[in-house]
Each structure stands twice: as C-alpha cells, then as structure tokens.
C-alpha cells in the first residue's frame, strides 16, 4: 500500500481545543476527503518511512537481517502504520504532538515485524534448553566458576520446582535460550503483555525461592 492509494475511511474527528497548530492541521487535513487528505497521507507516509528506516538501522546491529530485506521491512512497517493511523485518528486525544503519536505506530510496527521475522527464521531454538548458556546471560565470570556454580544450579532447581509449566516454558525460552519475547509471544499465539506478565510472575517466584534458600539477599526495600 502507498500513501496515495490508501482508501481507509476518514474518521469523524473533532479537533481538541488544546491541540498545537501543527497537530490540528494534521487532524483537519486527514479528516476531510479530497486532495488535501491525499497530500497529508503522502506527507505522513514519507515521515513514517523515514522513521522506520532510521529505526531498523538503529536495531540492525542486533538483527540477522540486512540490505534490501531490512529496507523492505521498513517499507512494510511504514505502510501498515499509515493504515493503523488512518483507522485510529479519531482516537487521537491531543495528549502529545500528532507526529509523536503517529511515530509510536511505526515503531510498534517495526518491533512486530522483527518479531515475526525471527519467528519465521529462528536463529535460536524455540524448543531446546541450552542451560550451559545461563552463566553467561548473567555475566558470571568463567574464571570464577567455583563461586557461582552452586547459584547456577540453584536457579535451575528453582525453575524446575517453583514455576508452573507455562512459567517454566517462558523463562527457559527467553532467559536460557535467548528467544526474543515478541517472537515467543507469536509462537504461543499470545501477546507481549501476556508473556511479560508470565515472566514477571516467574521472576518474582524464582527470587523468592533463591532468597528462601539463602542464595540471594532478603532486601524487600529494594523491590520484591
């Protein structure tokens, strides 16, 4: 989809009185069918594509994606963000500049597309358990293994005994195997928010187990 061919239905928009002038202009132009709206869509698409390209470039050192594939991802993110924005422009409440609100959509689209890319082309296994990687994940110095060997074993025991099967699956995938959270959410048919909540509960239970067994300090003032 391109900006010029977008056929999303304009929403009934009432510009909030506290909108800054530039945001009010965007809202007004996007609300009225016609040449002004098409021109605004083209301008917005150009802005979104620029932001998407910057964002994929910013993230690219950590991605196994490069070249034309990366630019294609940016282009798709911009197109899908434009579609989402035109569908939701009636929900813009003027709590920020319009463009800041719009950029949020394209950043989320980039995130989502990267997660889907890893799902289709996994560089780490979604199923295997690579426990030997755990010490490195937490910066344990190999030269000081005698000091952390018991702690690493205690973490694994706690994962096996304190967590529910679903919490264990999420912890092992994200922390042990290094699967991106968004990719795991896709593979589970779930959402980022739901997987984060599972992980949040798993972290809390693991820490409680490690504190109870004397491996970590009981210091509730710094968090639970």
């Amino acid at each position: 989809m391109t900006a010029q061919t977008s056929n999303a239905t304009p929403q009934a928009v009432v510009a909030a009185p506290h909108l800054d002038a530039e945001s009010a202009r965007w809202i007004q132009e996007l609300a009225e069918p016609g040449a002004a709206r098409e021109a605004a869509l083209a301008r917005l698409h150009e802005l979104l594509l620029n932001i998407a390209r910057r964002e994929v470039a910013r993230r690219s050192p950590r991605l196994a994606i490069a070249g034309p594939e990366l630019d294609d991802l940016a282009y798709q993110a911009a197109a899908d963000a434009l579609l989402a924005i035109t569908g939701k422009v009636g929900q813009f409440r003027g709590e920020s500049r319009f463009t800041t609100w719009a950029y949020k959509f394209v950043i989320f689209e980039v995130s989502g597309k990267i997660g889907r890319h890893f799902w289709r082309h996994p560089v780490v296994s979604l199923g295997a358990e690579e426990w030997e990687r755990l010490p490195a994940r937490f910066g344990f110095d190999p030269a000081r293994e005698a000091e952390w060997r018991d702690l690493a074993a205690a973490v694994r025991r706690a994962v096996d005994t304190a967590l529910t099967p679903r919490q264990r699956r999420v912890f092992v995938a994200i922390v042990v195997n290094g699967v991106p959270l968004d990719t795991l959410a896709l593979s589970m048919g779930s959402s980022r928010n739901a997987v984060y909540k599972i992980m949040f509960d798993a972290r809390r239970k693991l820490r409680a187990a490690l504190v109870a067994n004397g491996y970590l300090p009981d210091d509730p003032a710094r968090g639970s």
């Binding site: 932001i51 910057r54 964002e55 910013r58 993230r59 709590e95 920020s96 500049r97 463009t99 800041t100 609100w101 950029y103 949020k104 950043i107 989320f108 980039v110 995130s111 937490f138 910066g139 344990f140 110095d141 000081r144 000091e147 952390w148 702690l151 973490v155 922390v175 991106p180 959270l181 968004d182 959402s191 980022r192 928010n193 984060y196 909540k197 949040f200 972290r203 809390r204 693991l206 820490r207 490690l210 491996y215 970590l216 300090p217 710094r222 968090g223 639970s224």
Partner: protein, 73 residues
C-alpha cells in the same frame, strides 16, 4: 560486582510496574516529557518501572526517543 548481582537485579520485580499494555498506551506522552527534560520518571513511576524491566518496551521507547531527537534542528 558480586557474581549474583546481575541475576538479583533481573529477578527483582517492581510492584509499580504497569505492564506492556498500559506502558505502550502512554508511551507518546512519556517520551515527550523525556525530550522536554521534564521529570517523566517522577510523574509516571509506574511506566518508568516497566520500561526499566521490559526489554521490548524499553527498545520501543528508545526507538521513539531517537525518532523525536532526529527531528531536533
């Protein structure tokens, strides 16, 4: 640094953490406060707690922050 300190920091959970849904809903407001030099963490400690703990949301925040700063003259 103690050998357990990074693990301990990772496992600690903040009860103020609002989760991904609320944090992303407010992200455009939060990021403008940060760009303006306002005390966003004091005004929205629940969102700050989440962005500090959630890798994907933190990454989205950094991306949006970079987008706004790229506009600066």
């Amino acid at each position: 640094m103690n050998h357990w300190s990074e693990l301990d920091r990772f496992l600690r959970t903040d009860p103020r953490d609002v989760g991904c849904a609320q944090a992303t809903e407010m992200l455009h407001i939060y990021v403008e406060l940060v760009v303006a030099g306002e005390p966003a963490e004091e005004r929205y400690p629940d969102i700050a707690a989440h962005l500090d703990a959630c890798g994907p949301c933190g990454e989205d925040f950094e991306g949006l922050l970079a987008a706004l700063r790229s506009e600066a003259p």
